[in-house]
Amino acid sequence: MTRSQFAYILPVLLFLVLLYFLPMFKIVGISLEFPDFDLKHYVKLYESNAVRRIAWTTFVICTATTIITVFLSYILAYDLRFASPGRQKFMFMLVLLPLWTSALIRCVAWLILLRQNGLVNEALMFVGAIDTPLELVRNKIGVIVGMVHFLVPFAVLTLYASFRDIDERLMQASRSLGGRRIDTLSKVFLPLSATGVLQAVTLTFVFSLGFYVTPALLGGGRTVMLSEYVSVSVLQTLRWGLGTAICIVLAVLCIGLVLLSQRAIKRWNGAVA
C-alpha cells in the first residue's frame, strides 16, 4: 500500500478504531475485570438460572423467527425472481417500504393491531371465530410477529440475489425433460438455492439475536431476550460485568455462526458450481 492510499483509508480507520474497536476492547476489559483476568462473570452467566432461562427464550424466539422469516421470504423471492419487470418493481417497493419506517412506529402499530381489543381480535370475534380475545402481544407470539416483519425484507433481498444467479435455462431444461413445476422446484431450484437459504438463515438468525426494541415493546416485559437483559444489567441493576459478558458471548456466537456458514457455502459451491 502506498502512502497516498493509506491516507485515503485513514479517516475510516480512525473512525473504526475510535468508535468501534476501542469500546469493544473496553467491553472485553470490563467483562474480565481488567487489569485482573477474572472469569467470574462468565462463570455466573453459566450458573445463573435467570440467564439460562432468558438465553433459552432468546434461542426459541430467534429460531422460530428465522424459520418463519426465511420460509415467507423464500416464497416472495421466488415469485420476484420470475415476475415481469413491471411487477418486480412494484413488489420491490412493497418489500422495501417497511425499511423506511422506524422500528418503534412499527412496534406500536403491531401493538394496536394485536392487543386484546385490537383490530385482529375484534375482527375474529366479529366473525365468530373466537369467543374470548387471543393473547397475541406481551408474549412470544407478539415478539415473533414483530421480528419477522422487520426481518423479511433483509431475507428477501438476500434470497433474491442468490436466486438471480440460478440460470433460468436450468428450469426450462427440467420442464422440457418432462418435469412438472413441482418437480422442477423440488429437484432443481431448491437444491440450487441451498446456499442462498443458508445465507438468509445466518443473516436472519444473527440479526434476530440482537433485537432490542421489538421484544421490549411487544414482549411487554414478560418475554425478555438477551439484549434487553443486557440493557437492564447495564442501566438498571448496574451489573456491568454481567452485561458485558453477555455481549461478548453473543458477539463470539455471531462471528462463529457467520464463519461456519461461510465455510459450508464455500464447500457446497466447490462441490457443484
Partner: protein
C-alpha cells in the same frame, strides 16, 4: 410451397410429417419477432433454422419447445394441435445454448433425470443411461459433475439427456456456438453420425452457414421473422430465390444481366455467379465454347488461403468481382496485372432485384 417440391428427394426412407408449423406469428407489442411462418419438419430429417441474429429463428424454436406461445397460428404433431401444450407434456428434447446441465447432479443423474420423472424402475434406468452414455462415449465420466467436463463432453451429456427418453423431436439451440472452431467441426461430424445412426428428427438453430450447409437435410433461411426460402443445402446455394439468401449463404457476385449473358439488360433481375464458377486466364485467352462469356479485367488484390486464393478483379465498367482460384490450377496472378475472366452461362442463376 417450396418444401412440397423437395419432399422425398432428400431422404431415402418413407417420409412423413413429424411436426407442422402452421402460419405461426409471434408479436411483442407491435413488433413481429416471427411472422407467418409455414413449414413442416419431416420425420427423421435434420432441419436447420438459419438466419442472422434477430431473424426470429430462436423465437420459432422456443415456440416449438413450448416456452413461448404463438400470437397466431398452430403447431401440429400428427393431428394434434400442441400450440398450447406446456413443454413438459410435449415429449420434445431441447439442447440449450450453454447446455443447461444441472450443476448439482452427476452426468449419470443428469441423464437419468427425465427417466426418473417418468417413474421408470431403477434397474431399467441404469441400463438405459449406461447404454446412451456409451453411445456418446461418456461411460467413463458418469460420476463426474458438469463443471469437471470439457465443452464437448458437456454438449454430449446434454445430447444424451435428450436422447435417453426417445423424444419425438430434438431441438438444438445454437448448441455448437460456444465451442472453438476445431471442436465444433468434430462435434458436427459426430452429431451427423448420431443422426444417421438413430434416425431421430432434429431441428437445429444456428447463424453459422457452414454448419447449416454441412449438417442439414434441409435449411429454412429466416430473415426479419419470415421464411426467405426452404430447401436442401444444394438448392439454396445453387438456386437461391432472393438477394438475401444470395448474400447470406456463401460468397457471391451479382452481375447485370447484359454483362452476364450478353444482349439486352433486364433491370428487374441480376445474375448470380459464385466466385468458384469464374475462371481466370491470361489476358490473351480466347473463348472456347458457345456457352462461355469472357471479359478483360484488372487484378485488384489477392488473398492466399492455401488450398485456394480469392482474387478481386475490376472490370472496365468499374464493377469488381470475386474469383476463387483453386491453387492446383492457378496461373501466376499479380496485383495490377491484366487478365481475362470467363464463366459458363449455365452456371448463372437469375435473382430478382
Amino acid at each position: 410451397m417450396n418444401d412440397m417440391k423437395t419432399r422425398g428427394k432428400f431422404l431415402d426412407m418413407d417420409t412423413f410429417e413429424a411436426v407442422r408449423i402452421d402460419n405461426v406469428s409471434k408479436y411483442y407489442g407491435a413488433v413481429a419477432a416471427v411472422k407467418d411462418v409455414d413449414c413442416t419438419v419431416q420425420s427423421g430429417e435434420f432441419l436447420t433454422l438459419l438466419g442472422p441474429s434477430g431473424s426470429g429463428k430462436t423465437t420459432l424454436l422456443m415456440m416449438l419447445a413450448g416456452f413461448t406461445t404463438p400470437s397466431e397460428g398452430q403447431i401440429w404433431v400428427d393431428t394434434k394441435d400442441i400450440t398450447h401444450v406446456p413443454p413438459e407434456q410435449r415429449n420434445f428434447g431441447v439442447v440449450f445454448q450453454g447446455y443447461a446441465l444441472f450443476p448439482h447432479m452427476t452426468v449419470f443423474d443428469n441423464v437419468a433425470y427425465p427417466l426418473r420423472l417418468r417413474k421408470m424402475p431403477a434397474r431399467q434406468i441404469r441400463q438405459k443411461v449406461e447404454q446412451i452414455l456409451s453411445l456418446v462415449r461418456l461411460d467413463a465420466y458418469a460420476d463426474r459433475h458438469p463443471r469437471q467436463l470439457s465443452g464437448g463432453q458437456q454438449q454430449r451429456t446434454a445430447l444424451a439427456r435428450t436422447l435417453v427418453y426417445d423424444p419425438i423431436l430434438i431441438l438444438l439451440d445454437e448448441s455448437l456456438g460456444a465451442l472453438d472452431k476445431q471442436l465444433r467441426g468434430e462435434l458436427q461430424q459426430e452429431l451427423k453420425a448420431l443422426h444417421r445412426q438413430l434416425g431421430r428428427t432434429f431441428v437445429n438453430v444456428t447463424h453459422d452457414q457452414q454448419e447449416a450447409l454441412d449438417m442439414s437435410d434441409r435449411i429454412v433461411v429466416m430473415n426479419e421473422g419470415g421464411v426467405e426460402q426452404i430447401g436442401t443445402p444444394r438448392e439454396l446455394y445453387e438456386r437461391p430465390n432472393s438477394r438475401f439468401v444470395v448474400e447470406f449463404l456463401g460468397d457471391s457476385n451479382l452481375l447485370p444481366t447484359s454483362l452476364a449473358f450478353g444482349g439486352t439488360d433486364d433491370p428487374s433481375r441480376s445474375a448470380l455467379i459464385r466466385p468458384e464458377a469464374i475462371s481466370i486466364g491470361a489476358s490473351d485467352t480466347k473463348p472456347t465454347g458457345e456457352d462461355q462469356m469472357m471479359v478483360r479485367a484488372t487484378v485488384r488484390s489477392t488473398s492466399y488461403f492455401g488450398s485456394d486464393q480469392l482474387v478481386e478483379v475490376a472490370l472496365d465498367s468499374g464493377l469488381t468481382l470475386r474469383v476463387r482460384v483453386n491453387s492446383a490450377h492457378a496461373i501466376p496472378i499479380e496485383e495490377g496485372g491484366s487478365v481475362s475472366i470467363s464463366w459458363e452461362r449455365r452456371n448463372l442463376h437469375l435473382v430478382d432485384n
